[in-house]
């Protein structure tokens, strides 16, 4: 078992004829993901690098039974792309696009929540189940099949955690990048719930960062519901107040959202917080 993506994933890539979309569609296919085609309005009926191109998500779903979509559409058009996939009934939508206006996501989120679709991202690296399917931009080879789940707001910091585990000989069940924006499709709690119910997952690394209170909310949820060991790291202890640190959501306002506050709440419910980003793997290992 695993969560979100696996051998049954039938993937389409929205924005497949763009350079990013095509590159990553190819990478996903090379990893072994079943990429059944792509969508670019106006280019339906053509083919690119062996991928069938459709005009709409509905067409791709009808023709190929696609159940998952990976979005590489530019920020100005990405909300539309997410809503199109939702309308077509795609079960899992993963949006890589960075820079979507927050107000757009407020509306998109409301529509997605009222539908049967699950949204991951935007502004995220995607999801991988090592050995089964890679639906995202992460380097496949750093992963190893195993039993640890990873949930993270950050891309490259997730790779760091994965690599630390793999170097220690510990494999991963699934790794989910939820994204660093203020409004995201799936939260820490949504993904923790999936890991809780996944018999293969035996422990979780949760990687948060400054800004907002999602980590604190997750901590309280873990205390009441989560049955497996959790190790955590919060990036941004050295970030100054009031400055946006790359990610749109990574900003400390007043005393709220600081790394210190998050760390304290996580520790208060018994989660082991790694003191340094170099020890995420070791911290998780100490719990097994």
């Amino acid at each position: 078992m695993s969560i979100l993506v696996n051998n049954d994933t039938k993937l389409i890539v929205q924005g497949i004829t763009g350079s990013q979309g095509l590159f990553h569609a190819t990478q996903c296919r090379e990893y072994g993901t079943n990429v059944v085609g792509g969508v670019t309005p106006g280019k339906g009926g053509t083919e690119v690098e062996g991928f069938e191109v459709f005009d709409s998500v509905v067409d791709a779903r009808k023709a190929k039974g696609a159940n998952t979509s990976l979005i590489f559409v530019p920020a100005a058009f990405a909300p539309d792309a997410i809503l199109e996939a939702t309308d077509a009934g795609v079960e899992l939508i993963i949006c890589i696009t960075e820079g979507i206006p927050t107000n757009d996501m407020v509306s998109v989120k409301k529509v997605v929540d009222a539908s049967s679709s699950t949204l991951i991202g935007p502004n995220c690296p995607g999801v991988i189940t090592p050995g089964e399917a890679k639906v995202g931009i992460m380097p496949g080879y750093i992963h190893k099949e195993g039993n640890i789940g990873i949930i993270s707001k950050s891309g490259t910091l997730t790779y760091e955690a994965v690599w630390q585990l793999t170097q220690l000989g510990i494999g991963q069940s699934s790794c989910v990048g939820i994204g660093g924006d203020p409004i995201i499709g799936s939260t820490f709690i949504d993904i923790l719930e999936l890991f809780n119910n996944d018999p293969k997952t035996e422990g979780v690394i949760m990687i948060g960062e400054i800004g907002g209170s999602a980590e604190q909310e997750a901590a309280h949820w873990i205390k009441d519901n989560f049955k497996k060991p959790v190790a955590a790291f919060i990036a941004g202890a050295t970030a100054p107040k009031g400055k946006r640190m790359g990610h749109a959501g990574a900003i400390v306002s007043g005393s709220s959202g600081s790394a210190e506050e998050k760390k304290n709440v996580l520790e208060s419910v018994g989660i082991k917080v790694s003191p340094s980003p170099a020890e995420m793997g070791e911290t998780l290992k100490s719990l097994l």
Partner: protein, 385 residues
């Protein structure tokens, strides 16, 4: 992106949010003429900088005559204001705003922001105006009302009644609150704001409800559909290096330490700063070069880091996902040669083609120390300064 109070008040007028009559000036003489035309018995003169705490720092003055308006504006122009939000170096005043003074009966707080927990835009109201709202939230949370607004139905009459009751408004005040709430919500959504804040909103001795101060912050992500953001942007209010970085497509924030950082990815960049601190030193900057940095970008990033005289060593931490390590190594070498790096340089590469990348660095005649892990990289760079 922040804008000035006078710009925010111009937008308030455009969206029918009641505020005093006023205008911005760059000369005392013009301000004096304007004050004469207002023919008031008291005026407020306010220095325009992007920081709170102006009053305490001498950036807000009450004066009685148009002549005093002129001389006060002239005094403020060119002045450096130091407030709790500017940092010790302060900010230079280039523009001064003049408006009719109001006699305040009571101060209130009103704002609208996107609430991540609710995943909606929320109106925040409090009868405790003119104070630090975070302090109110902490000390007297019952004096704060947070009202989510559904994106589909928008502002409804019951929202206005609910907020008015909470603020203790009478019937006439409630009637005046309606357009203010509708106005800030419309402004917030149409202009893609991250924050619209009125602190304080006041009731006057004349029974009027109006915005005495105005703060607006735009969502940078929405810049592509708001050409007006460019006109409202005041580059003199920004760190020159951060502006420069934006031009090159990466994020940069200047800090006070001695170790320069060059990293790919925002989370890893923050974590790199954290690990430097963990090993006993302070980072000189946050720098995320992004996912697909070119040689040109890497060169610019090095230049930016080295323009800071405090930098005594540089740590490069790259987890090459799709980006290949040998490409990065080539970039580092070209950049290092062009820029002429005189301080110790520690490079940690991981990811695709890592062995090739390391080989390129080791075979170069540059003084580069390579490290295998983040931990090694941090302890090495700290030991070199």
């Amino acid at each position: 992106m922040n804008i000035h109070e006078y710009q925010a008040k111009d937008l308030f007028r455009k969206f029918n949010i009641n505020t005093s009559e006023g205008k911005v000036f760059e000369s005392g003489q013009d301000a004096e003429e304007y004050a004469k035309s207002l023919n008031s018995n008291e005026y407020v003169v306010k220095a325009q900088i992007h920081a709170g705490g102006r009053g305490k720092a001498g950036g807000v003055k009450l004066v009685k005559t148009p002549e005093e308006v002129g001389s006060t504006v002239q005094e403020m122009l060119g002045m450096t204001l130091v407030t709790h939000q500017t940092g010790p170096e302060g900010k230079v005043v280039n523009k001064v705003y003049v408006e009719n003074s109001s006699i305040i009966e009571k101060e209130y707080y009103l704002s609208i922001v996107t609430d991540r927990s609710n995943e909606k835009n929320v109106i925040i109201a409090s009868p405790e105006g003119g104070m630090d709202i975070e302090k109110v939230a902490e000390e007297t949370p019952d004096k704060l009302l947070t009202q989510p607004i559904d994106p589909v139905s928008g502002i409804q009459p019951f929202h206005i009644r609910k907020i008015a009751y909470f603020l203790g408004f009478n019937k006439d005040q409630t009637k005046q609150l309606g357009p203010i709430l509708s106005g800030i919500y419309k402004l917030f959504t149409e202009m893609d704001c991250a924050l619209v804040e009125i602190n304080p909103l006041i009731s006057t001795d004349q029974g009027e409800i109006k915005a005495l101060d105005a703060k607006i912050n735009f969502d940078d992500n929405a810049e592509f559909r708001h050409k007006e953001f460019v006109d409202l942007h005041d580059p003199t209010e920004e760190e020159p290096l951060e502006l420069e970085a934006k031009k090159w497509g990466f994020s940069f924030v200047k800090l006070d330490g001695n170790i320069g950082c060059l990293v790919n990815g925002a989370g890893l960049a923050m974590a790199t700063m954290d690990i430097i601190k963990f090993h006993g030193e302070e980072p000189a900057n946050f720098l995320d070069v992004g996912g697909g940095a070119s040689v040109e970008q890497v060169t610019q990033a090095f230049k930016m880091i080295l323009s800071d005289q405090n930098v005594k060593a540089i740590l490069v931490n790259i987890f090459g996902g799709i980006m290949k390590c040998d490409t990065i190594a080539d970039g580092i070498i070209i950049a290092a040669k062009e820029v002429g790096i005189q301080v110790p340089l520690v490079v940690r590469l991981e990811g695709t083609n890592v062995d090739l990348g390391k080989k390129i660095l080791e075979e170069s005649d540059l003084n580069i120390t390579t490290a295998d892990t983040m931990k090694d990289a941090a302890s090495t760079v700290v030991s070199l300064i």
